[in-house]
Symmetry: C2
Subunit: 118 residues, 2 copies
DNA sequence: GTGCTACATTGACAACCGTCGATGTTCACA
DNA sequence: TGTGAACATCGACGGTTGTCAATGTAGCAC
């Protein structure tokens, strides 16, 4: 309900107009929601730690059994966090025998990084 | 409880050892928590929209009255989201008369971007 | 088969988050 | 002084999240 742009109520102490054409460009809500999901997956120190370890593991990937103890969380909790990262598209999982390897998805990470360039 | 690294239980289908020295490097929890707070502030499409508009406003900053209607949320909700962005260090606010201008903090954004380089 | 290991899923709980209406506060102007 | 506008804060509500114990599932070894 801002009628400021059509009136002359700019304060005398500040001659510049209140509104430039700020919100004039279109904004893709679906795209923002997809980005937000990615950032939400990063919004937890435990998940940042897991991601850091998976990144450090390189192309071979990281075994879940090596992630549990350093994370300081229970096995179900780690499994939950890995699922969050997986559903956010930040990592992929691969089963080898009884073990599960997790790999980074660098393109997804790059996408989130690029969105911060604005 | 992974004793795999001290035993010889590697599956025969996969000769590579399960564990490289993955979690061996130190991990700064306080630093990760600080980063996580930044990403949490980005983990909402409404806040991404607000941030986008504030960015588009440039050096002059964006007036709150111009952010409410494009966001599609009520004035208290927008005020709440701006508070979240402020407390995450992503924006700063400045009062001019009855109006409030919000400015971007590019260094904080750069910090979050750099953390994704791993 | 039995038993063990690695990992995922379920269920429960407290804490947190997004949203809005109502109210408070500060400023400008008459 | 009074009125209105811009923005913040409060209170409440439903939904989501992080956590763990318990349980389920699948593979390996004997």
């Amino acid at each position: 309900m801002s009628t400021r742009s059509t009136t002359t109520r700019a304060p005398k102490v500040e001659p510049v107009a209140c509104c430039a054409t700020v919100g004039s460009t279109e904004f893709d809500v679906a795209d923002a929601t997809e980005l937000a999901k990615g950032y939400a997956a990063l919004a937890d120190p435990v998940r940042l730690h897991l991601l850091s370890m998976i990144t450090a593991a390189g192309a071979g990937g990281a075994c879940v059994c090596d992630l549990i103890e350093p994370s300081g969380r229970s096995q179900p909790t780690v499994s939950h966090h890995l699922k969050v990262l997986r559903e956010a598209g930040l990592v992929t999982s691969e089963k080898r025998g009884t073990w599960a390897w997790y790999h980074l998805v660098p393109t997804r990470l790059a996408q989130l990084r690029a969105a911060l360039d604005d």
